[in-house]
Subunit: 161 residues, 2 copies
Amino acid sequence: MGNRKTFELEFHCHGRASGKMRNDISVHWPGMGESFELATDEGPLHGGDGTAPPPLALFSAALAGCLMTQIRAFARRMRVPLQGVEVRARLRWRAEQEGAGPYVSAPGGFELDIELDSAAPIENQISLVQAAQKGCFIEQCLAPGVILGHRLRHGSDWINV
Amino acid sequence: MGNRKTFELEFHCHGRASGKMRNDISVHWPGMGESFELATDEGPLHGGDGTAPPPLALFSAALAGCLMTQIRAFARRMRVPLQGVEVRARLRWRAEQEGAGPYVSAPGGFELDIELDSAAPIENQISLVQAAQKGCFIEQCLAPGVILGHRLRHGSDWINV
């Protein structure tokens, strides 16, 4: 295997409230010298103008995208042939509120269904998904129990991974 | 105060690997009938084409944007006058790797600095930020200890909230 090494990643962001509920957010990745201009907003029903996706849409895409990126990056390292990846995810939250006061929110669980287009034996596909979960920077931030499960498609079945 | 009520939120997403490292991700918010087309990619150094932000940039913006949205939404409910909100955040991760194998990642801590443009007494501003943390759907998913701290600007000082 070779020697053990560690590396660090750091992202900085600077958000400014702009429209009624819009936030303009500059994200900077100092290690790569890259910057990204992003924004969030809410639809009219929540007092916004719908000029950008709500924060939870960015979060949902970040979670699915991070896992898919790890799957593809690790497929090469683990020599798992891979033609395609699809992920479907369901993310649930609940919130409790007294009267019209501020609410308290809690995760209700996230489920991720993964389909790999791969000629590799299913055991190797399972190992790849397990490695991707451990490598996924977002999954590793979540409290235990928030991810309810990963399922991997195998023919017409789903395997819990 | 009035009576206690609960509500639920659910987001669905469907991601498809498209370019070398690009993922096209449709996010659907069934409760609101809204859909958002998002994408992630990696820069050339990580084998991508840089056509979209990396997943961690979306995640960073989602976290800052969610907290800022809660602060603005709750300011009205808590009757805290608020002209502006700025948030600066630093998010750190680390990863360990044996040789060229897949790495295992872990959060290294997130710090959020908040500046409110408000004529409200600092005690009310602190209460607002504390309520926003409890309401923030993303913060509430994170493992204890991932958020290292929230600091609120007060004149030339920073108050730990």
